[in-house]
Subunit: 413 residues, 2 copies
Amino acid sequence: MRCDVVAVGTELLLGQIIDSNSAWIGGELAAHGIDSLVQVKVGDNIDRIVLQLERRLAEADAVIMCGGLGPTHDDLTREAIARVMGVELELDEALGDVIRDMFASRGRRMPENNLRQAMVPAGASIIPQTRGTAPGLVCPVTVDGVEKVVFAVPGVPHEMHDMFHRGIIPELQRRSGERFTIASRVLLTWGESESGLNERLDDVIAELDEAGNPTLAFLASGWNGLKVRLTAKGADAVEAARILDPWEERLRAELGDLVFGTGDETIESVVLDLMRQKGWSIGCAESVTGGLVGGRITAVSGCSDVFRGSIVSYASEVKYDLLGVPEGPVVSEESALAMAHGARRVLGCDVALSLTGVAGPGTQDGQPAGTLFCGLVWPDGEATQYFRLPGLREQMRQFSVINSLNWLRTTLT
Amino acid sequence: MRCDVVAVGTELLLGQIIDSNSAWIGGELAAHGIDSLVQVKVGDNIDRIVLQLERRLAEADAVIMCGGLGPTHDDLTREAIARVMGVELELDEALGDVIRDMFASRGRRMPENNLRQAMVPAGASIIPQTRGTAPGLVCPVTVDGVEKVVFAVPGVPHEMHDMFHRGIIPELQRRSGERFTIASRVLLTWGESESGLNERLDDVIAELDEAGNPTLAFLASGWNGLKVRLTAKGADAVEAARILDPWEERLRAELGDLVFGTGDETIESVVLDLMRQKGWSIGCAESVTGGLVGGRITAVSGCSDVFRGSIVSYASEVKYDLLGVPEGPVVSEESALAMAHGARRVLGCDVALSLTGVAGPGTQDGQPAGTLFCGLVWPDGEATQYFRLPGLREQMRQFSVINSLNWLRTTLT
């Protein structure tokens, strides 16, 4: 089964947005045993979209079109597919109502052109939208007497990812007639570089290459850590799991404390669970991160049972006056520890984590950009930690978040 | 002049590396007045590379191939170009010496396969390498009696960028004989949907389509707002600017207060500049956003001159005890205003912005997910605002950030 990708949008060709969607789609297709051999970017021009779609359909069994489903005059994916199918666009009344209701529920007037998103090529079926207004499309098309299919999904990643798993993968597996199951195990790690992990796992990787199934991949995901993914192909979920179990054990044995979670966990959800186990509430004092740690923790729904809040003490005076940090240089071990004690008192929490550092550009208190001091106070102890982090301003700040939370995890576990 | 791009590498299709090279190339070509209308990713397979290169050459005047120039067996770009040119690969002795010398100078043994990088299609010329071992190639090819050209550059960005400006742009300009410049103006807007903007600008868009130059595009950039971009083609920067000026004026007249900034500004940088104009310091009290507002503001380097900090009062007790919010439901106008007053007192700032709401899933204080109340206190006034926002938990929180900051802007401007 071969499924190529056509990403639609002039902004992709002008480099204003980098097309990461087709790379994501290629990775997911591969994980489900489907080849994606050519991926194309084309601008918002009906003739060129049609030509590129026809070229992909001539070579592949299926094509995923990503983007160009919005309501405006330059959203042309629907028209292009209809032209390739040789059919008209028809208004889907049910879709029209969904879109009208969405605007109504927000008490907003609906510009008429939003109904463009309810236009569907005759003979196509819908992948219902759950997050946006543009639905996905499943469009059967016959090419030289061969049954093929064109999928259309929005370019907004979280909308696209959701529709891909709900509407595209099941349809592709149905068409391919292949019945094997692909199952993955993801170990979340922090504290070692990709090449470092690679080295630690040299022997395991050699044995895996030998075995061929499961396969192993490293997925760098920025401040969500470095993921190690095992993917196995089995007759069913049970067999796939049986194949994965011993290899996951091997990986855990090799990686030890570097593994902080699995699957959809995050360092912040792991820290929150740790607090629940201990029966402790937690709060923060943030300077260099300006609220990113609190922002990350509160992204986890249900965090309110243990998370109290965070004191973003960006100005030195706030550190002195509110947190009781002794006057003087604020990028230091002493300051970090005082910030943690201050946050614990002000927020009335059992555990307090503090971050003070230099994001750059430029130095502060004689410390270079990349300097991070963390403080940690809990009911029966306290600790500080120094980090020297890479990256420009924003990257340094994001590394600060995961490094501080992972340090809290290893310190209190 | 049209120059398409073919990025070569199986890792690009598997999503192990995101192809940012073709986006960069597209942006640079546009800046030099050259169209890049289709960009393709293909894996390390000689037949497929040849087929995709032939397809690009059938449509474009020139093609840039990026990647596949390394020394290993799966670096096939040279072979593919030679096949399309209908010529043999020949060893370029001078190149061979350069590569041998490079290894010698590093005191390293040269694996023989490195000489693959000295193989050149007969009739091609060289873009000398200054940073790596793989040279670039300029390969003239005749397609249906028309003179066209294929360029080959390495996939390593800094090597590719260097060769692009040295060897590709001059050759393309020589061939096109054209000398015009492309210039863009970006207006950042908030407060109207993409379709709403499209409707407000219906007449302008019609006139622009008539004129053909400049062109207009909408770029949704999530919580960075909705961008409206004008792009003009002119003999030089001065003429391009002269073409853009009246149209930018038209857009500003139509969009009015929806426009919060231009170019690389952000809503937070605009708010910080507004505070500087007024000579006011600013702080926040965040509940539903958990620190995201502070995190966004502190992403702007140099914010410390006006930004004091943020009180992330996630637990109700922190709102009551630290900010002096009256006990009772905390998702309300009254609570939002009290939070702002409390933050202004605790942080010692001139302006305080507060956010309290329901990110969901589920309701709070009888309010549905998507509810946001904001409070604002400044030296000579106070205000509150209710928003009903779309989206799941994280999307709602991000909309809360830009809506609250944009409301602050319109209230205090």
